[in-house]
Subunit: 324 residues, 4 copies
């Protein structure tokens, strides 16, 4: 009844997954961990085995399922290894650093004939997004016509380049917009403010819905993710992400989270709980390898659209039957 | 000390202007009214003279300044008559039904050499927009980079056609965006949902700011105008337009106004107060004839962009020195 | 058609009344002013006559109606003089500095047999309170059972003493609670935090409704007046008093006004517009002399209750037929 | 490493505890269940043993710790049995149906000399209350002076009597107010609206803070719990308990939960996670048996105060050193 899990990568996200598995997830035990930094691993090991080689962790008899939270460039290779070993994996986003590489993972899973991979687009488990989707599907806003997204970071890291606003940040809106609308994206145009930040990206879906997204890497005032889904009879949007309101120094309101970790803490928890349950029941949850491929492929083409400044058609290829 | 005003047109807006002049505006008396419907005029006359011919009203010795609230197609002609008579006028938007016609009014005022016309883009007097502009100009949000506008009507009238969403509704965002940013608009692209409603219009300014506007003529749930101005260190947006919040039947929140009259009641009042004061002091207030021309000219070109589906450059000609 | 008004007292409130009469009120002209400071009066005179003696102003042929905004201790005497002269007056709150003195004014007006006095309890004209009362009376919240009031000042002036929190500030809640509920107050008990600030005052009405009021003279963070009216099927409360919301420095929200002048600017304007109209039509508006007496009398008895710490019955005497 | 838990009582709360233990709590397994209805127990048993006798469950070798969620009248007896067996228990509130009975449980735990009981005042784990307490303790609002509580149910059950508004509902505010303020309660007075609903209960603490609570059993519009903590430099209050906001049918806002189960779902989850961890670490969490006694004792005396209508002093006896 208890799933034995190995965790690869113990950076910010890996350490948070480890904590969630140990403190807030039912039916699971962490039996092995892997990290490039043996000291960090030793500090976090507790009763889990430390394995220096991620392939050894994937192969280990003590590991039934794997959490992949190592650097982005390693995701696709480790996901392929999990598929080869026939083990379930929760793989942090992005699935791969290029569409071509992501497609190889999809092909491998299709060849295997069953879904073992869940990609960590955790917003699908955020209570606000879940409520928005449920309300839309129950007909509470009429048929969906438009989605306004806002994605603001307080400050981009030094090493952030223009395209990373798309491939690293906007990729979340690609996934959540497809999920909220149940649609495929067919075109994109990018408007860019002076200095390349913020971007305003407008996409169209195969059903004609419009998706507008502001991506602002240096919004300065805080970490702020917002969405409003517009239907023909009403709208549904995120409420403010704060449990309290304060009055102080002439000011009424609430504080913004500093980054995505506090903002999406509950989404990460529900995601990993859903993943453990999905492994136990064999019923897939969350974003599939195909969804991971689409997010990366659309992001790649939006980067091109950013460079040309014109409206680009998006090409994705046919969705394999495994992901119907 | 008391300004004698004549009001032309006593429809919804004209009657509201008449009420404001009589009940909520200092330093003014209504001495003459004009309407195509003599019965309606008789009901509203009180101690004002009724004149069937608007040109007679403009020429009357009893009239020092004119409010033009007759049908759109008559605006330009009446504005020209006021200029010819050397009388101030507050002219309801739009200034004219075509850019070419609007330009004739601008040319006439430029030839006259002094500004007598104020165009009724009342949002410039709405407390929320005024506060947004003040905060931005005082540096509270850093340099401006992006403006999100939302313009939703509960339902378009039967006689509304696609282009009217642009020429009749979106024209307000053209004016208020220029005013909030202090910029000129240089490009536009229109995305259209199935059936042509809503539209999402993205414009760029001469300073590189991005202006995004949703125009939804049949949003069903109510009349909802919103704006968020985004700067490099913060943002400022409209609060909800309601003095109260209620709890009732599992619901917490507020009601939307049914249309622009209650939503912008205070803006209309402040606008006409400012107009009366500007006539007394000779210092222009509100939108000028040039602003009225620009709004109509941009709308005209956005209608073309809507038809082509591509990004269009906007052409306006040079701003005369009178409006510097 | 134009009412000639004299203004007595040009301090903070008097100067604001003067400005409103001149700039934002229809159908009125200020013909005379009076103040203890001739320099201040000279600066504000414009085309009004300056009279050093308030009794001369009241008696003047150029003055049809009077605004009394001089220090509190002079209100009752000037109100009596207006009654003696048969002139309408808008008298700032409080009507008098003691219940006994207030009752003399009431008696004089009753002897005269017609209502000439309006007391400046301006909250009755605040859009939020007006909407709350309207909604309650239209049945939107069921029968009224409880009213929560909050009255917070950023800081009390140096010269403020404990009882003034009641007689100067809480007196507003006495009036507005009676008005919102349409009830008379019959008991009061006061709880006091260490140092005597804040107070929590609980009153009962003749219909059994409960009125709870926090009065906090040194709330530090800003000027904050709030009310929630609770009915058997719903509630209605004030929305935040701000036209905009901002994001800045990790913070989302709005600023509080620093005191009552910006918070109730619109209430003061509507009040004086209603007063001018009520003089013209002869139909009383706002708080009557009786309401002014009740507010002062209840405040006086609440001060006693504060000293005893027990629940006190409130005694007011019978309401004269003139105020039925 | 995995705690074996037995659950007594599978009604609304017991079934929710069972679900949380199985689906959302780390480090625990449910090994035994007990309920008066064998069919209900059978439906929920899964791999847990069913025991008809709660005393047998408490005595079972398979049970290391117990959740007591049976009817209120059984709580004290079962808690005493857990103490006798030396087993930890999470006991639903109230600890007992009288102060005298609760004191027996306290005495037994004191005699035992170690704390085995946690009482299910789950609000102590609600993110909003936790944030309010943290902010106050970090000095964000200055020293605390006043607490406003609102506790509204949509409708009281048929079998609800006047005193139960106090002993069943208000008991939550007794506990959370003591916890938020870190103070003891020393007086109470109750105001009652016609028909005995709502009540307004005003209490004072040993530090002079004022606690005001509206308890409305039939508020009709929904389940609404609110609190605002007032300090000398600022305030902190609950935000609205909703992840989304909607526009629909002229309305903007959010829905209220129908009762406490959805409203406090996360509080229940965090409470039981904290309990399992506290059993493992031996470090007590949440409300103690003493807190449970105090809540019941204060409620009992508030019922008396409700009957007399006067301010009552509260008597609690000395806190044993075990709960220092």
């Amino acid at each position: 009844m208890t799933l034995s899990v190995g965790v690869i990568g113990l950076g910010v996200m890996g350490a948070e997954h480890l904590r969630l598995l140990r403190e807030e997830t039912a039916g699971v035990q962490v039996t092995a961990i892997c990290d490039v930094d043996p000291d960090r691993a030793a500090r976090l090991a507790d009763d889990a085995s430390f394995l220096a080689d991620p392939m050894a962790l994937i192969a280990s008899d003590k590991v039934e399922a794997v959490v992949i939270a190592s650097p982005d460039a390693t995701h696709a290779g480790l996901a392929l290894a999990c598929l080869a070993a026939g083990k379930h994996a929760l793989c942090e986003k992005p699935l791969a650093t290029s569409a071509a590489e992501a497609l190889k993972v999809v092909d491998a899973e299709v060849a295997l004939g069953r879904r073992l991979l869940q990609i960590g687009y955790m917003r699908r488990f955020d209570p606000a997004y879940v409520e928005m989707k449920r309300m839309a599907e129950e007909g509470g806003i009429g048929s969906r016509v438009l989605l306004h997204n806002i994605h603001r970071n307080a400050a981009a890291p030094d090493w952030f380049t223009g395209p990373m606003a798309v491939t690293n940040s906007f990729v979340h809106e690609i996934d959540i917009s497809r999920w909220l609308l149940g649609s495929d994206l067919v075109s994109a145009i990018v408007h860019s403010a002076p200095g390349g930040d913020p971007l305003l990206i407008t996409m169209e879906t195969d059903k004609g819905e419009i998706v507008s997204t502001e991506v602002f890497m240096n919004a300065h005032y805080g970490y702020h993710v917002h969405a409003q889904l517009v239907g023909r009879t009403g709208t549904v949007q995120m409420a403010q992400p704060s449990a309290t309101l304060t009055n102080s120094g002439l000011h009424h309101g609430h504080l913004w989270p500093v980054n995505w970790v506090p903002r999406f803490r509950d989404a990460y928890r529900v995601q990993i709980t859903a993943w453990v349950k999905s492994v136990a029941t064999g019923s897939p949850a969350g974003a599939s390898a195909w969804d991971g491929y689409v997010a990366t492929a659309v992001a790649e083409q939006v980067v091109t659209a950013l460079e040309t400044g014109t409206k680009a058609k998006l090409f994705l290829g046919a969705r394999p039957a495994l992901y119907a």
